[in-house]
């Protein structure tokens, strides 16, 4: 066959032209994705706010990158992680609710199943020494497995999730960008998710500006009085600046039957033969309460007023009641109002509106 120069030229042009076309299409898509994300992701770095203790988890074994974060975010909001492809982590951990779920004491999983515990808020997780209300997981990279495999939550297996993700060219490409190859493993899924979850830092509430002596941090009298009362009466468990020491304690809640018809043993449900851990739950942070009602492990209190009434007059003398609560916490009505004012200074609007943490559309 005689290939003329012009034929060769036309062939090369067609081939090259096609690949140019493909390249420009792809580039457009990438550009529109980029446009939707926060440019600060480019120099993604996890920072410990000034004056805070060292974090428990610091990405030493999980190199933080923009691609890893974006993959983790995509997975966090991905309903394919549930058996019927309807429930994502973000279904019960909503960014605008400081990653709790607004208006739900107990959340629903697939097929409207419900569990027994309130969806906890998520922020400052790298400082947590354990996860879940009963503290049964102590490493952030192990945490997602529990809700994923829980039949009343996402009811799925890692094996099925990997199969589903492998079918998506988009996900294979994201795994390649994040970890260097298209191979999808559960370990990579958890590391990517830990990159997203670990970056959820809330440290710009009015209280933080007050502590840092910044603009916007000037407290009103009630807030100052509330801070004073707080330090006298609450900081034994709700230690600054994280507003929790993340220990497991029984705070004297009345023993009620849950949706399974049993009383929640808390940490004691992990080792039911050892009653020394019965009714102990992880001390939650008091940051962002404005966005995270209802409160307690079963969402029984809809308002902060109810919580304060519990501590001042409702503490039950149950087994393992925390020694700090033997006589409840006496709070006058002025102290309660001041505390509410102070707790309002822990609400971080910048955290719940941070575009890096929003559900991608």
């Amino acid at each position: 066959m005689n290939i003329t120069a012009s034929t060769l030229r036309n062939f090369l042009l067609a081939a090259f032209g096609t690949s140019l076309l493909l390249y420009s299409c792809q580039k457009t898509k990438e550009t529109s994705d980029e446009a939707a994300t926060d440019p600060t992701l480019d120099n993604i770095v996890f920072e410990t706010p000034n004056g805070w203790p060292a974090p428990v988890y610091n990405f030493e074994d999980n190199r933080l990158s923009k691609e890893g974060f974006k993959l983790g975010r995509a997975l966090f909001f991905e309903p394919m992680l549930s058996s019927d492809n309807t429930i994502s982590c973000g279904s019960c951990h909503q960014p605008f609710a400081a990653f709790a779920q607004i208006g739900h004491n107990i959340s629903h999983g697939v097929a409207d199943r419900i569990g027994i515990r309130n969806s906890p808020s998520m922020f400052n997780l790298n400082w947590h020494s354990s996860f879940f209300w009963d503290g049964h997981v102590n490493h952030i990279e192990d945490q997602p497995l529990a809700p994923i495999t829980n039949p009343v939550e996402m009811d799925e297996s890692m094996e099925n999730i990997i199969k589903k993700l492998e079918q998506s060219e988009h996900y294979r490409a994201m795994f390649k960008d994040a970890f260097g190859s298209e191979e999808i493993t559960d370990r990579k899924i958890f590391k990517a998710m830990a990159q997203f979850m670990g970056m959820l830092v809330s440290s710009n509430a009015k209280y933080d500006k007050y502590v840092r002596n910044e603009a916007g941090g000037s407290f009103a009298q009630a807030e100052l009085d509330g801070l004073h009362t707080f330090r006298n009466k609450c900081s034994g468990c709700h230690t600054e600046p994280l507003f929790s020491d993340f220990s497991l304690r029984n705070n004297g809640l009345s023993l009620v039957l849950n949706s399974q018809g049993t009383v929640d043993l808390g940490a004691g449900s992990i080792t039911p033969s050892d009653s020394s851990r019965y009714y102990k739950f992880k001390v939650p942070s008091l940051r962002n309460l404005k966005f995270t009602a209802p409160y307690m492990h079963d969402g029984r209190f809809t308002t902060i007023d109810e919580v304060l009434q519990h501590y001042s007059s409702g503490v039950q003398q149950t087994h393992n009641l925390d020694p700090l609560l033997t006589n409840g916490i006496s709070l006058s009505s002025k102290e309660q109002q001041d505390l509410k004012a102070f707790l309002g200074t822990l609400d971080d609007e910048s955290f719940v509106t941070d575009i890096r943490f929003k559900e991608p559309r």
């Binding site: 309807t86 409207d112 419900i114």
Partner: protein, 249 residues
């Protein structure tokens, strides 16, 4: 000359009105009252003050619903669409019961149309502010959209125990969409003139959620929180819950 004629009639097709400052316009206040059958709705934390069609005794602890995409239809059949009309009525917030709709073109309106819920476009895009702010607890995720309406409370089980009931209606597309268009003939003509203020009073009846065409038996179904046939069935019932009790000009 012919071209000028073309432009003066732009965006004025025969069947719709636009907000137009050349015309006279007035205000219409929508007042919402929530009921359970003939009784006014009252939220309570204990006891049972209501009974559904199935005979289940119940009480209500929360009642919230969206009414959106308001259209007024005048006596000529011409529709006026109120721009960005999204109202979240919340029984626990009396301030949500009265909504003032402004810049309504003058005219005699015989029908009002609303969407019960949030339209599908706004479930996947648009500003989430005001009544559409997810802080109100009426939004799931961008994937599953808004909770168009919810009722929560407790009922008495046949064995006498107290149990919770919670019906969250969501789903904005496909076979199980819970979105329902409602067209209501006004009991008297709504007359809007220059800078007038009229009131249209609505009744939203919780009992209608559980009556017909699908009679709900709390003993068998007391929880709906996802997109599916149960939500769609209740939405069929719910679509009949809104009526206009009076018009005051």
């Amino acid at each position: 000359m012919a071209i000028a004629g073309l432009f003066t009639s732009c965006n004025k097709d025969d069947k719709t009105l636009s907000p137009d400052t050349e015309h006279q316009h007035g205000k219409v206040v929508f007042n919402f009252k929530n009921h359970v059958g003939e009784q006014a709705l009252s939220l309570q934390a204990s006891g049972y003050n209501y009974q559904n069609a199935n005979g289940d005794s119940f009480r209500v602890s929360a009642y919230k619903y969206y009414v959106s995409n308001v259209r007024f239809v005048n006596e000529m059949g011409v529709e006026y669409s109120v721009p960005e009309s999204y109202y979240l009525i919340d029984q626990s917030k009396a301030s949500s019961f009265d909504r003032t709709l402004t810049a309504i073109p003058a005219g005699n309106y015989t029908t009002v149309k609303v969407l019960l819920g949030v339209d599908s476009t706004h479930n996947v895009s648009g500003a989430q502010s005001g009544d559409l702010d997810p802080i109100h607890g009426m939004f799931w995720t961008w994937n599953t959209g808004y909770i168009m309406a919810k009722v929560e409370g407790n009922f008495k089980k046949t064995n006498g125990d107290d149990a919770g009931m919670s019906f969250h209606l969501g789903g904005f597309a496909g076979a199980y969409s819970v979105l329902r268009e409602v067209t209501i003939s006004l009991p008297q003509t709504l007359v809007v003139g220059n800078e007038t203020q009229s009131t249209v009073s609505f009744k939203s009846d919780v009992l209608k959620w559980f009556g017909a065409p699908h009679t709900i038996n709390f003993q068998q179904l007391n929880q709906v929180g996802s997109v599916g046939i149960d939500a769609a069935n209740i939405a069929d019932n719910y679509s009949q819950s809104l009526s206009v009790t009076s018009v005051q000009n």
